[in-house]
Symmetry: C2
Subunit: 148 residues, 2 copies
Amino acid sequence: MPSSKPRIDEDAGPEYRLDDQIGFLLRRGTQRHLGIFARHIPDLTPTQFAAIAKLFEMGPVSQNELGRRTAMDAATIKGVIDRLRRRELVTTRRDRVDQRRIYVELSPLGSKLFEDSEAAALVISEQTLAPLSPEDRASFVKLLKIIT
Amino acid sequence: MPSSKPRIDEDAGPEYRLDDQIGFLLRRGTQRHLGIFARHIPDLTPTQFAAIAKLFEMGPVSQNELGRRTAMDAATIKGVIDRLRRRELVTTRRDRVDQRRIYVELSPLGSKLFEDSEAAALVISEQTLAPLSPEDRASFVKLLKIIT
DNA sequence: GCAAAATCCTTTGCATACGAACAATATGGT
DNA sequence: ACCATATTGTTCGTATGCAAAGGATTTTGC
């Protein structure tokens, strides 16, 4: 009589399965999205594109403020801006009034790059959600916004 | 007559808003989860915990295989295992048959650490989903599994 | 006005992540 | 047996990400 493993846990221990955990699933989802992004916009990372998109939306803004709007801390946004500036996609200048601030502005080249990539960026979002039905897509995005 | 900005886009251009894009939301969700994780299990990163949890589930397994099961590429899992081995949470040994393979095994210390953190890990998942109603949690996890 | 607190940016250190290139080893087809 | 191919693990380079500490500047509280 093979009753080696009881179905009910003897210690009433919690059953942790990695593949069911929200953190693991978020990481995998991000990975899949990253792959789709890289195929459609190979010359920018999602973070770099986020910074450019936000600059396009907002116009010139201080570096840390841009970081806040794109969910990057001060150390991270600095690196991103440094790399974008090196490619001449953005320009920076010190604020005359508040000498601490560095204003970041999209260059014409950066503006053009955004406009040329905008359609691709929307395709990326669509493809990422493609496995879901249209109703599920909306509800998924809604729920994801809530837990953010 | 102030009709400067038409509600309907003249160029029928797509309107990209960063805050609505799935990639940006995934990144923000991951960030929030990471913060919750660090508060509950400060001495392990989510990735390190994932490796340990999978080893606990599966028993000894080769390094690359473990990487596949935890969604890490070969370069990433190597660094994770190196750091876990340095803390003596795992042990490694070469496979006698296949000389390429390195078997990774949870040490007693690593096993104990997992068992001691398992409850906290479940709390982390709960707290991450806390803003959602119980029904929404289940549906969110289900949808997230699909787009993975 | 002035000291304390807050804000802005920088730097360092650590830990993911991934692509690409590589050496060593196994496996497959013929 | 042999050779093309695949797999395993390593290394390097680049890019997030965050914590913590620090310097410079501005704002606030009194």
